[in-house]
């Protein structure tokens, strides 16, 4: 099976190289047969890489410990779904997984557009196949997952050596979310290749019209959603597994996943300028390019060992390859842009400084400033080592000091942007739209002050959150009221109609609301508390409204690990709420100890309990309890974000045509409209 997988990988590389070569020939000769052949080769890469992935999984499930990768990342007693997840546990497998996801995207992009955009798709195929070629070269020659454990005999012959059992999966990865989090993040990273391919194709082929930007936007939204989910699941994994009571440590690898998300968010906003007004074309193309380059940079940081991180589980000298590829992409982007820059000229000009266009400009400026600050803080230790010869640390205080004001200003813009009209906004309209939401925000701030909230950032966050929520609610209310008045339906049905008429706009508002909810969750961090105490059976510890009573300490045996477990009873107002079982697991195969945190989660606060091990002095168990307010908002916000994005991806319904004052909707295809008929257009 290893030979089969390895052979499939080589064939995949040949197919990708063929797709690049024949694709370029097809572009030059405009020969439809060559175009079709290149496309088929591009799609065949998916089939071949899939075969390779299936064979590696087969080797995991059959415990073939003669394979180096299987022996390194699995063991006989590893549970079923972790054997599946072991595919991306190490450098070689995760790169194969990357190639596989990329081949899925490439297959979908080529297959779904096989009869569309004949001028654009050959370029798209070539760009996708070029990126695939790079990763398949790595899979075949630099980090192959199909290496056999062998021993050379005296005569030089190689004998296959199978280990009795493997070293097991990294215990940090033995958590249910780790089965979902990396695929989500990789789907985000790899997904940004498709918008990159379309943007590059449109630029190289000087594709007329704005169709390419619509396609690019949709693919970006898909990748952005996966990236958002991946980042949030990663934060939740860090929260639930690492056991330090937080979810975001500004670790270089966390930052690496956050950077393309920021630039993609900027693109999803500025793309509207191009779609509606034919403006910011250069900016948009570069945002797509930069997003893709940041994905590659993120991979470089994760895998090269350039920066130290608890996440960088797969370090090697592969960084040189990624650096070369990054330089190659940068040169390709600069050349493509320079040669075709006249193609990106704006169709329209800015009419007023107080307009939706300006708000998008500022939104992009703030997002990019945030992105730069995070990138700078992440890379500064490396720069310092080059310049000063000293490796330093840039920890969370830097990122918090720089990004919190930026994030709060961005939150403010989230509320302001939708209130401004395209082209020009009058003072009256500004006053009318801003007055109540701003008054609501300030009122919330005053109430919070009265109730003793004295931290500046959470206070500003609260004011902004209420302001943004009210602006979003007002948008829904105004639109639904108009529909209700025209069609006679109740306000809820009208809201449903409103949303379905312009899914993109209202889906976007729901995503904005999700961001508000996430911000509230993050603001809760200012009120975190923690207590650490040595405990014996019967002893108590108090944190906030909770009393933790130690009921028992025991040991649990499992084929995969041995565990020391505390049984803690949680009391509130003297009444028993529940039992928590924080653990400390010793994984037998890898000989590594890890924590399993116990969390009692409510919408208002999390009681987060860690069994921190035994005190070296007294040998008594140490319990570390944290009280983290509003953390649940972050995960709940993530859920709303996914729903909002999914809604925005659904095509809008045609405008409903209604008789003014009538209660029944008419068909849109009914000839010329009489005076009494109004058309309700969905528009941003």
């Amino acid at each position: 099976m290893d030979i089969f997988g390895s052979f499939a990988l080589i064939l995949a590389l040949i197919a990708a190289v063929y797709a690049v070569g024949v694709g370029i020939a097809a572009i030059r000769t405009r020969n439809p047969l060559l175009t079709k052949s290149a496309r088929n080769a591009g799609m065949a890469v998916f089939v071949l890489v899939s075969m390779s992935v299936v064979s590696l999984e087969y080797l995991f499930f059959t415990n073939n410990f003669s394979m180096a990768y299987v022996a390194e990342h699995s063991n006989r007693d590893l549970p079923f779904f972790y054997k599946f997840a072991a595919l991306w546990a190490g450098q070689e497998g995760s790169l194969l997984f990357w190639s596989w996801l990329l081949s899925i995207y490439a297959f979908l992009a080529l297959f779904l557009n096989r009869r569309k955009h004949p001028e654009l798709m050959p370029y798209v195929g070539v760009v996708l196949a070029t990126v695939q070629t790079f990763f398949l070269v790595l899979n075949n020659f630099v980090a192959t997952p199909f290496q056999i454990l062998g021993q050379a005999s005296a005569g030089g012959a190689l004998t296959v050596v199978a280990q009795a059992d493997g070293h097991g999966l990294n215990p940090l990865l033995q958590y249910p979310e780790m089965v979902i989090h990396p695929p989500m993040l990789y789907l985000g990273y790899t997904g940004f290749t498709v918008p990159f391919a379309f943007a590059m194709a449109a630029l190289l082929g000087r594709y007329p019209g704005e169709k390419w930007i619509h396609i690019t936007r949709r693919w970006t939204m898909v990748a952005w959603t996966f990236q958002s989910v991946g980042v949030l699941l990663g934060a939740h994994w860090a929260y639930a597994v690492l056991g330090w009571g937080g979810y975001w440590a500004w670790d270089p690898v966390e930052n690496a996943s956050f950077l393309p998300w920021i630039t993609a968010t900027a693109f999803l906003h500025s793309v509207m300028m191009q779609e509606k007004r034919g403006m910011m074309k250069v900016w948009n193309v570069w945002l797509v390019f930069v997003t893709f380059m940041l994905c590659i940079l993120g991979t470089l940081l994760t895998r090269s060992g350039v920066v130290s991180s608890v996440h960088a589980f797969a370090q090697s000298s592969i960084g040189t390859w990624f650096t070369c590829f990054l330089v190659f992409i940068l040169i390709a982007c600069v050349l493509a842009f320079w040669k075709n820059r006249d193609y990106l000229r704006s169709d329209n000009q800015l009419d007023s400084l107080v307009s939706r266009e300006s708000s998008f400009l500022f939104n992009n400026l703030v997002l990019l400033a945030g992105c730069f600050a995070v990138l700078w803080g992440t890379l500064f230790p490396v720069i310092s080592e080059w310049v000063e010869g000293t490796k330093i640390s840039v920890g969370a205080p830097f990122f918090n000091k720089v990004t919190i004001p930026i994030a709060l200003f961005l939150l403010f813009l989230t509320g302001v942007g939708p209130l401004l009209a395209w082209r020009k906004t009058s003072y009256d309209s500004l006053k009318r739209n801003f007055a109540w939401p701003m008054a609501g925000g300030i009122a919330a701030g005053v109430i919070a002050l009265v109730f003793g909230l004295r931290y500046i950032y959470p206070l500003v966050c609260l004011i902004m959150s209420v302001f943004v929520t009210l602006t979003i609610a007002a948008e829904f209310w105004r639109g639904a009221r108009v529909i209700s008045a025209r069609s006679g339906t109740n306000i809820f049905a009208s809201t449903g109609q409103l949303v379905m008429r312009n899914t993109r706009r209202y889906g976007g508002y729901i995503v904005h609301f999700a961001i508000v909810v996430i911000f509230i969750g993050i603001a809760g961090q200012a009120f975190n508390r923690d207590v650490q105490q040595e405990m014996a059976v019967g002893s108590r510890m108090t944190i906030g409204p909770y009393t933790i009573v130690c009921q028992n300490f025991d040991e649990v045996k499992n084929p995969n690990y041995d565990s020391e477990r505390a049984t803690l009873e949680i009391l509130r107002d003297g009444k028993s709420l529940m039992m928590l079982y924080p653990e400390r697991r010793f994984f037998l195969a890898s000989q590594v100890t890890e924590t399993m945190v116990a969390i009692q989660s409510t919408p208002l606060r999390d009681l987060y309990v860690v069994y921190a091990g035994r005190s070296p002095e007294t040998n008594r168990p140490v319990i570390h309890a944290y009280l983290n307010p509003l953390v649940k908002c972050i995960w709940f916000g993530g859920l709303i974000l996914v729903l909002g994005t999914a809604l925005a991806l659904i095509p809008s319904r045609q405008p409903v045509i209604v008789l003014r004052g009538a209660t029944e909707a008419l068909s849109a295809t009914g000839g010329p409209l009489p005076q009494s008929v109004g058309v309700a257009h969905g528009d941003d």
Binding site: Q349, L350, F362, S393, G395
Partner: protein, 167 residues
């Protein structure tokens, strides 16, 4: 008898005084000792929040309970010991830098080359504002040119004709 009583009373009074002195000393010492310990551990905690764990977990030393970490426990103990010996904060940090390298400090002091870590984001924001302003001015100027060029001489003449002669 009365004398005996008074002597006994005086003795018992002295004993009571002694007792109360001993008791108040005990209570005071009980109050003072935990306070001293609390102050010591608070200082150690504050110091540990200024440093990074060097095991590669990229966590602040004070919150690193990364199980299996071979550094954080010893580092925290060392801080406790140095604080116990009444070493100054600067001296403790300096010793840690010598022992574990400059990467042990959470953030380098903002001077010399390290000032750039704070300056660059500000420079970037200012640069961004300049770019946005340039874009806005450029667009506004072009918009004005376009709106002027759209009103051709023919159009003005036609408008005058249709408006009729000036009164």
């Amino acid at each position: 008898m009365a004398m005996i009583e008074s002597i006994a009373g005086a003795q018992s009074g002295r004993t009571r005084l002694k007792r109360s002195v001993v008791l108040s000393t005990l209570v005071l010492s009980l109050l003072v000792v935990p306070l001293a310990v609390a102050q010591q551990s608070d200082r150690a905690k504050a110091l540990s929040m200024r440093m990074m764990c060097v095991c590669g977990c990229h966590q602040i030393l004070g919150v690193c309970n990364h199980v299996g970490c071979t550094y954080s426990h010893d580092m925290l103990k060392e801080i406790d010991a140095r604080v116990g010996r009444s070493e100054s904060d600067d001296l403790i940090v300096q010793n840690f830098v010598q022992e574990y390298g400059a990467a042990v400090i959470l953030l380098p002091a903002a001077k010399g080359f390290y000032l750039w870590i704070w300056l660059m984001p500000i420079v970037a924001v200012i640069g961004g504002i300049v770019v946005v302003r340039f874009a806005l001015v450029h667009w506004r100027r072009k918009a004005a040119e376009v709106s002027l060029s759209r009103v051709s001489a023919d159009l003005i003449a036609r408008a005058r004709r249709e408006m009729g002669p000036d009164e």
